[in-house]
Symmetry: C2
């Protein structure tokens, strides 16, 4: 017993209402300032400042100074996955918010998961990638197959420059609402980016929800839907 790393510290850090609001907000992927985060957590600036210092100290978030602003974001994708994992368990065990938001259905349909697409539509796309063998295994994990790369190019994704990054091309991410996997990694990021560029979808202000236009959703479903 008493083997391995000590998880209670990290969990306790997340286990505070204000800090969990902050982290959940940062799951949206954008960097936010200390004051903005104080707003979402509904605490004063001083309090938020202390919380953020502790989160940064534990390397759950990273901070970037920009003039008199301090921008915070999640430290990396592992932290995002941990939070999604927590969301999943919380969702299943019924630990919903007291006044569960009417936006919940929209959230389950399509939302940002750190920097890629999650929700029903994200799962739909991932299933298509899998079924059509657009993702393959290599020695280091998942990657794009040749036909997958072809598809991405047709979508207008710059595959070659994406390959250059240190980040893996494909990665799976467990979807808390659908309890299925969706696509993360470079390809996941770029795919969402293209949806924005094509005018298919837009981030809803101050939320993780991704609103698809009727036309955008039709095209998306046609692209990835079961044939």
């Amino acid at each position: 017993m008493k083997d391995g790393p000590n998880i209670s510290g990290i969990a306790a850090l997340i286990g505070d209402r204000a800090r969990s609001e902050i982290l959940t907000a940062l799951l949206g992927g954008q960097a936010l300032t200390a004051t903005e985060l104080a707003g979402v957590a509904d605490v004063t600036k001083q309090t938020a400042s202390v919380h953020l210092a502790r989160l940064a100290d534990a390397q759950l978030v990273s901070m970037e100074k920009q003039g008199r602003h301090r921008y915070f974001r999640l430290a990396d994708e592992d932290v995002a996955q941990l939070l999604e994992s927590l969301l999943g368990v919380a969702y299943r065990t019924g630990a919903l918010r007291l006044r569960s938001s009417p936006r919940d259905p929209d959230l389950r349909k399509a939302r940002v998961c750190y920097d890629h697409l999650a929700g029903d539509l994200g799962v739909l796309a991932f299933d298509a990638f899998r079924k059509r063998r657009w993702i393959a295994h290599d020695e280091t994990g998942l990657t794009l197959s040749r036909t997958g790369a072809e598809f991405c190019r047709e979508m207008g994704i710059d595959v070659d420059s994406a390959r250059k990054g240190r980040r893996p091309m494909c990665r799976v991410c467990l979807d808390w609402s659908a309890r299925r996997h969706h696509l993360a990694g470079q390809v996941g990021v770029q795919l969402l980016e293209r949806c924005y560029q094509l005018g298919w979808a837009k981030r809803r202000r101050g939320s993780r929800i991704v609103d698809f236009t009727p036309r955008g959703e039709r095209e998306f479903r046609q692209l990835f839907g079961r044939s």
Copy 2:
């Protein structure tokens, strides 16, 4: 903002030293009694009892009465994955125990992850499964390929009865020490089971460590090692 389930409750539950010890102990996969868990958490029976009640209430653990004993285990694999996820982040951010155990290397080499094999050897096996195309995708997720099923039969795993269960055959699980995936799901469980049966390995008492015999490790590496 304020979208989705509320994670702070669950996280706070895990974020207590005693409760995190309890949960980590249950990651070993075996059901343990309340008194045993009080022992590993180093608290009195009363205290453990309240903790366990709260964990059960939140559906993180499940309880089974057996005579005057109460056996506790993790509620399901999702909870186990959440804990592994936490272990991973805690490990990377250096939140190691104050007196880090000398058994750590053994733990990283081979350990039980809920009910399947993790650690370097677990990753080694998974890589082999992947490289030799013993796992394939189907519409619901990962599954055994035909050659994979063949291999399993040679290993002495009863593939057909394993398929009958509700549980998926193959599932990936992120390994916190190796930061790679290893094999979970029915096949993962059965594989570990066979290692025990073949006398290749044994659980170390009161720990998650799996001790391979020299011969067992040699055979295992020969089976899955890079050729």
